[in-house]
Subunit: 179 residues, 2 copies
Amino acid sequence: MDIRTLCLGLLTQSDASGYEIKKIFEGQLRHFFDASYGSIYPALNKLTEEGLVRCTEQAQDKRPDKKVYSITPAGRMAFLDELMQPPGRDRYRSEFVATMMFADLLPPRHVSDLIDKRVEEYRVMLDDLQRACAEGDAGKAFVVGLGHAMYRAGLQYLEENRHLVEGEALLASASSAAD
Amino acid sequence: MDIRTLCLGLLTQSDASGYEIKKIFEGQLRHFFDASYGSIYPALNKLTEEGLVRCTEQAQDKRPDKKVYSITPAGRMAFLDELMQPPGRDRYRSEFVATMMFADLLPPRHVSDLIDKRVEEYRVMLDDLQRACAEGDAGKAFVVGLGHAMYRAGLQYLEENRHLVEGEALLASASSAAD
DNA sequence: ACGGACATGTAACACGTTACATGATTAA
DNA sequence: TTAATCATGTAACGTGTTACATGTCCGT
């Protein structure tokens, strides 16, 4: 699902400007998706050309014009069509995970620091998601709940199993300390 | 962490050809990373130019030459250097999750089918990971375990909460059936 | 006076995939 | 004979990010 389609989807829920769409990505959706202005504005222009959204320019005093986009019936159909396509496979990219794969090459302290940081990040994220769970429709709540469940499991795993990568490092430092 | 660095990392663990590296990505690492020949071969060539890996051509009878790459001391240093950089944020892209966000726009049956499929995929993946857990060093086991824990939580959540998105659909169809 | 929010956009760049090109060997 | 596995590579394309360009208003 590319940014263009995602924007179209957001516009099924409410009219918005490019700037506002960015805010939505930075808000509750932050832990699942993101998009920069560099992809949002061109996407919106393309959708307009294709007749899937309509743009109403609102002149504002003391501010640049605000371009508010709303989805057209054709846009709704196109989005539905997209949603009905079999979803492609998830893709994931985690430098933390990649780093942990090679934990045995790193100084023990560094590994511990990385895990500490990640644990803290998970905690913040879980708080965020808890809060986000309240607001929003069923679909959003479901997705937020899924994220929460998975990140909570990740956090718990880190806490219970960090010794696996820290231990190995300790072993190495213990054998050199035993000299 | 780009493909080039990932290849370098794999070469810290054993010498390999481009073809073999692809097999590794398709094997135990499948659920965490992937890479196509179109990025692996150029990466390997670039690493060679940079002096981070060395290439030994093995003439094979009845097969094209096999180019086996091994990491150089400079390569090890460069990889370590890379690993010591603070890891960038995770990025995630899931069409399933995106689709679920808009579950209320979809036919109830379709949503149920999607979840059924996802549940089945999780089951297969968990089996895979269970098996992969045994082999490999501490780092790999840790990462595989983390994946397992998170996907298991995802599966459980889906099973226990699918009614949230199926229920809403049912509600809509119930009210129209009550006419 | 300065940084941050509001507001829109473009161009260069990075990174990766897909499809193509080539060709032998082996098992069904 | 047909498909799969072994084996390497390139070129076109897609998709997105970063950095830049521009300008106002508001709070401190």
